[in-house]
């Protein structure tokens, strides 16, 4: 017997022939067919026990009574059970304790990051990096204070959010729009503000300093370092919420006002607000 010799296969051919090469018609094993039928039966069983056929009044319910919504509820219950002990401690511990306990800190940060993405990222950005008019929460500039308690109060009651009685209400007057100052005076004050901020090209004048003293120092302080009780920003540091060019500063003085933040106290539960507070505080600028 040599390798070139054709061996009798006892299998018929399909009748197809290409240049002398024929195709064997080897039958599939029958169990393969049975397996195929079994998969069809399996799918029929699925049809029966799970919601499947759409009807005008909704899909058939299935014999198991399984429902995606109840499955989600069950999963959430399961999650609450796992989170339970940590959540209980988050609810009772003080903010300072949470930040000092590694397990609580990581739980609060995880929970806070999720809550932040759902509720805060719309204005403050996905990484809390802020935008023009919306503070960056990673830096160390805080309009209303950067201690845990300050942050918590801001989240709970919001800023200039009239629906909340305890909200932070202090607002900068619209010096131009309301006719308190004329355009020339505003321009002089803007120059003075730029000088306080040690911005390049600032042109301070004695008249500007006097106007600042008369109109702005009540809230921003004589030295321009701001006042957190009033939500008045420090004008001497390197950060500018709306921008540091003269036109922007003139517009801010002329129109006054300030950002608005909703109060979350009624929308989020206490533990979530705690977690959000710790999360924001731990971003880097917390005091």
């Amino acid at each position: 017997m040599s390798t070139n010799e054709m061996r009798e296969t006892h299998v018929k051919t399909t009748g197809h022939e290409w240049d002398g090469i024929e195709e064997l018609d080897t039958p599939l094993p029958r169990w393969w067919l049975i397996t195929f039928y079994a998969t069809i039966l399996w799918s029929l069983a699925y049809f029966l026990v799970y919601p499947s056929l759409p009807t005008p009044s909704g899909a058939t319910q299935g014999l198991l009574g399984w429902h995606s919504r109840t499955a989600v509820t069950q999963d959430l219950d399961e999650l609450q059970k796992i989170r339970g002990p940590v959540m209980a401690r988050l609810a009772t511990a003080t903010l300072e304790e949470i930040e000092k306990t590694p397990q609580l800190l990581s739980a609060a940060r995880a929970l806070g990051a999720a809550a932040f993405a759902n509720n805060c990222a719309g204005c403050h950005g996905a990484g809390a990096q802020g935008a023009k008019g919306y503070p960056n929460l990673n830096d160390d500039e805080w309009l209303w204070g950067g201690r845990l308690a300050d942050i918590r109060r801001t989240i709970e009651h919001g800023v200039r959010w009239d629906a909340d009685k305890e909200t932070r209400t202090e607002t900068m007057p619209a010096f131009g729009r309301d006719g308190l100052l004329d355009a020339g005076q505003i321009s002089l004050i803007a120059d003075e503000v730029r000088a306080l901020g040690k911005l390049p090209g600032a042109k301070p004048a004695a008249a500007g300093a006097k106007l600042f003293d008369d109109n702005c120092s009540v809230c921003h302080g004589v030295d321009g370092k701001g006042n957190r009780d009033m939500g008045a920003p420090n004008l001497t540091d390197a950060l500018w919420l709306f921008g540091s060019d003269k036109a922007t500063i003139v517009a801010r003085i002329a129109n006054g006002g300030g950002g608005v933040m909703p109060a979350w106290g009624n929308r989020l539960d206490d533990t979530t607000i705690t977690a959000l507070t710790v999360y924001v505080h731990s971003l880097g600028g917390g005091e």
């Binding site: 393969w32 067919l33 950060l239």
Partner: protein
């Protein structure tokens, strides 16, 4: 063959063929003994390994081999693998493939014939079948004849025994995924909370019963890819279970052969008794040459040797040999055996190299790790005093059995200060985190640069986690970015 002729032979029968029942006959001999030995050994390893204990210190699992999914750990005696080290599994799979190739290059389908679970469990099921229903001829007769109540009872007993074996197979499988003695106790006393184990035992009971009881050689013929790969990988020097047709052919009955030889003619040693086919577990006729269905278990060698001994002819008419040697002997040349050749040497060298590399990395891997991810957004933060800050998520891993203290440092950027949120600096100004045994700890690290800024927008920096007790350190590279 012309087109008209071939169309005449075209099939008209069913598209599907029923499995031809195979009744492998019992056989005795050296290969059968090897198979019994390996069967006992592999099954003993499979069933007993979960109960082997290994001391890893307090709090750690005491099971020598354990796949701990809930805690994301794999334990193998003194080795503990974390999920991020899954490349060791990749290495093991590569090693397994190369060992398979080497076995094949030396002596064919050693894996298929002796070690494959499909072979081992089929062998076990066959012996259970023989024990209850009798040997091949008896079973064939019973299947062909009328179903008496005795035969029915035997069938029920056989399937029950098969199911028990299958149940024990699945039962042992789940023991690798939980503490074995505890799980055995829970299963035996029907305690709640181990329903997952029951599901897996059920699945493995079903697959074992189907594959070893009903599918048998069909698995090798239709499901397993290895016969196809093996056929492509083999060469003319690889030993395979071979019918030595140079000595066996022309085959004829003992009587005819003796008469022909007395008359000075040439008669082969094969007396066409069919014992090689009768004992074959996959129903192959080895005399037709190497085939996909032959798992090379060597039982036909035992069967033929038994016949040769009875009729006073030399043994090993079927033997581990090559077709090339049959041809050479036929033409009067000496057979060639070359276990050492480029193929086997390269496989062996690759096995040594990869095995060595894996052992080396395993032996020299540290038991502490540090990984760092730079904040994606914002990349850099300016502070009120004009300083720049980058924030990172760092994760300290302590793979040892003791709690350890790590101090975080940053290198590569002068004047950069590092701090960890929620951690007070110690007396020397270091930020130290304590990581429990066999745990990781995530922290938020801030790197602040006051003073001169580097000219490049991106400065490579290195985070160093220093073990305060041993002084050893691990590093992680990252960068400090400017807005």
């Amino acid at each position: 063959m012309s087109a008209t002729e071939s169309s005449r032979t075209a099939s008209s029968g069913s598209l599907y063929a029923a499995r031809k029942a195979i009744y492998p006959k019992e056989v005795e001999g050296s290969f059968r003994r090897i198979k019994w030995g390996l069967l006992a050994f592999t099954l003993a390893v499979y069933y007993l390994l979960p109960f082997v204990r290994w001391d890893r210190g307090p709090g750690a699992p005491t099971q020598a081999v354990l796949v701990d999914f809930p805690h994301r750990r794999f334990y193998f005696f003194f080795i503990e693998i974390w999920p991020q080290e899954v490349y060791y599994l990749t290495g093991l799979l590569i090693l397994a493939a190369l060992v398979l190739f080497l076995m094949n290059a030396v002596a064919g389908r050693i894996w298929c014939g002796y070690l494959c679970p499909q072979t081992v469990w089929t062998d076990l099921y066959l012996s259970a079948e023989r024990w209850i229903e009798g040997d091949a001829r008896e079973r064939a007769r019973k299947d062909a004849g009328p179903r008496t109540s005795k035969i029915r009872r035997e069938k029920i007993a056989k399937h029950a025994l098969w199911l028990v074996i299958a149940w024990w197979t699945g039962g042992a499988w789940v023991l690798y995924f939980a503490d074995a003695p505890t799980l055995v106790h829970q299963l035996a006393t029907f305690q709640p909370g181990v329903s997952q184990a029951y599901v897996w035992i059920g699945i493995f009971t079903f697959t074992t019963y189907m594959l070893a009881g009903h599918m048998r050689e069909q698995v090798c013929l239709y499901m397993c890819p290895w016969p196809r790969i093996q056929a492509a990988l083999t060469d003319e020097y690889a030993l395979n279970v071979t019918f030595r047709y140079d000595r066996g052919e022309p085959r004829m009955s003992l009587k005819q052969g003796l008469a022909l030889r007395a008359a000075g003619g040439r008669a082969g040693d094969c007396v066409d008794c069919g014992q090689c086919v009768a004992v074959c577990p996959t129903g192959v006729d080895i005399r037709e040459g190497a085939s996909l269905g032959c798992v090379q278990c060597g039982l036909c060698i035992d069967a033929c040797d038994g016949v040769m001994a009875k009729i006073g002819r030399a043994p090993r008419l079927i033997a581990y040999d090559t077709q090339m040697n049959c041809e050479r002997r036929k033409s009067g040349a000496a057979p060639i055996f070359k276990p050492l050749r480029a193929r086997t040497l390269i496989y062996a060298m690759l096995i040594l190299a990869i095995g060595g590399m894996m052992s080396l990395t395993l032996a020299t891997r540290g038991d502490a790790r540090l990984s760092v991810i730079h904040d994606r957004n914002p990349l850099a933060v300016r502070l009120t005093d004009g300083a720049l800050r980058n924030a990172y998520t760092v994760r300290f891993a302590n793979m040892s059995g003791e709690p350890r203290r790590f101090a975080l440092e940053v290198e590569g950027l002068d004047q950069a200060e590092v701090e960890i949120v929620g951690v007070e600096p110690d007396a020397q100004g270091r930020f130290v985190v304590v990581v429990g045994p066999d745990q990781t700890r995530e922290a938020r690290a801030l790197v602040t640069l006051r003073g001169d800024k580097p000219s490049a927008a991106q400065t490579p920096i290195v985070f160093v986690s220093r073990d305060l007790d041993s002084g050893a350190s691990v590093e992680a590279k990252d960068a400090f970015l400017q807005p």
